[in-house]
Amino acid sequence: MTPHTTAADAHVPAGLNLPASWYVAFPAGQLAKRPRALKLFGEPLVAWRDGTGRPVVMPRHCPHMGASLADGTVVDGNLRCPFHHWRFDRSGTCVDLPGTARIPSKARLRPYPTVERYGYVWAWYGSEEPLFPLPEMPSLDEDRPGHRRFRLADSTGATVRRILENTYDPDHLVALHGLQVAGPCGLRMLTDQQQTRDHGPPIDPEAWLGAELTWPGYTGKLGAVTRLLGTNADEFVLRVDGWPAGQRISYWADGVPQYRLLLATTPIAPNRTIQHITAAVLTTGRRWRDLRHYLANRLEITFASHQDLPVFNTMEPGDRHGIYLERDRGVLRFRKHYQQWVDRVADHA
């Protein structure tokens, strides 16, 4: 492991409780040619694009005299500090230092591994090299036919763990979201990635966790509305699988897929997390039916995620344990998995 050379990344900040994982750094459209300042993982960072347009995410302050590299310029594909024109390449190595024959070995910044995909720039947190590749979800690729996509990004006052464990908590659908259903919700942990192969290629088995949530058709007001829209059914199934910091979710009505979505997170600081959703609603080629389904699903996803926000924003800070009932086994299982990957974060101290 390369020793750290700047104050900015000298330690893993306490209180974040993040697993080693892939996170959304920011939507790709937010980074053009100019470098930009961002705060991520509780650290001040800079994001920029090198000569080939590939994104780089690294500590913001120049190791020389601490100037913000976000005020710098990309020159010949390298980031040039505004203060004394030191230049850094995409590996964080200082490649030019005006007026000096020999570049000090400490003139180096450690970038976070990044990948640009699904309209996001992703950053790996927790070790110098990623411990597994970014999971794939082909239905979100722009050129994939048969889908209509939309995206949500919501700031929350909650931790990453609390946002993600919510998917493994079928009971809150009834209580918080006021889902009136004809019978009890069920949850079954998945044991085999075959059960989610429509989400995409298998995820690294150690990082993978999945569950299947089922509930019978809607009753009450929602039942009436969904019947009217032709989106009610006898049985709904939600399958979730993912890695410690993100989830692939598919939603089925009577065995027919309705939409798939990717849920990912941007940890800015303790109790400050952005929740990202990209949803792909399945289309059949029948225009009016597709439009109706798209709008109904978009409404439902947006509405439900906005019902979660006030709870997230006022929750107890941090990731303290709670009281677990038998029906909370999904949440408990997720928390265990998540913490195992928190423990895999390399100790930089």
């Binding site: 937010q30 009971d171 209580a175 109790n271 924003n313 929750m315």
Partner: protein, 353 residues
Amino acid sequence: MTGDPAPQARPTPTAVPELAAGWYVALPSTALAKPRALDLFGRELVAWRDGAGRAVVMPRYCPHLSASLALGKVVDGHLRCRFHHWRFDGSGTCTRVPGARRIPETAHRRTYPVIERYGFVWAWYGGDEPMYPLPDFPALESQRDRYATYRFSHTTPASPRRVLENAFDFSHFTTLHGVKSARSLDLTMLTDPAAAAENGPPIDAEVWAGARLASRELQLPRALTALGIEGKSFALLVDGWTGGQRLTFFLDGKVVAKELLGITPVSRGRTVFQGWSLVRRSGRVWRDAPTYLAYRAQHLLGTREDLMIYRHAQETHSGVPVKNDHGVLKFRKLYQTWVERAQRAEHDGTART
């Protein structure tokens, strides 16, 4: 990404150091309709009203998965968490967990002892059982029609102790507030709660501190004399407990005003002091109106002078005491014994944080 879209990290209260066991103002009664988040005693709490309208103050977060109960709703007189619909009654007992046959032992919350009086919800700090009753202040109840009243509320970084000890610091009346008197002010610490009968029935002697401040040759500011307010001798009778005080102001032996002061310890470095001022009515409007306004203006100006000192003062234990500080020192000594009582009581009942 450059603009910071996420909500600011919520300020979480930090424990109030050296807080005495006592009755404190939690919030004004009118501020409590729906369940609401409350920072008090340096803790994150929730306040709500049960089916009978009784105020309840208890820890804010649901013991299940930590949602804020301040988002909850009162259903059948019980507070229902928004997240999974667990319910809690006015005693903090968890009464319903949807889908569970047995309610977990650890699901119960401990509530703070609460009394609603004088337009405020008062909460007890320091263990589960109040160690003395909330003091009486008849001027706001049976004798209320004798006074023109108004409410006040000020926020300061000073500790609750500093706000309370101020009344026993007689020398600051001349130096800071510019009270002029031909002969120096006298402060007599009282030894018997019955000596403060003008303020109300005696307060529990163990927590009580009282003093009488007198000036025989007072020079009233010209603003007051111009209004026809006259008086040669002035006296202030103050007594109280660890979370509040009762005050009576006399001019030439007659009551001119009273005050009830309650302390709200929000967090370390954040204290609200609030209460009621009562200005004696004579029944003659042309005389009462200017007196009321003059008192109110004087009170506000004086409070602002205190607030300025509080804002920049450093919290001290001993400082450099001089003879004139005997009132303050006596109060601090008493206060400290109640800090210790609170520490013991909170240590014995640690589940309620």
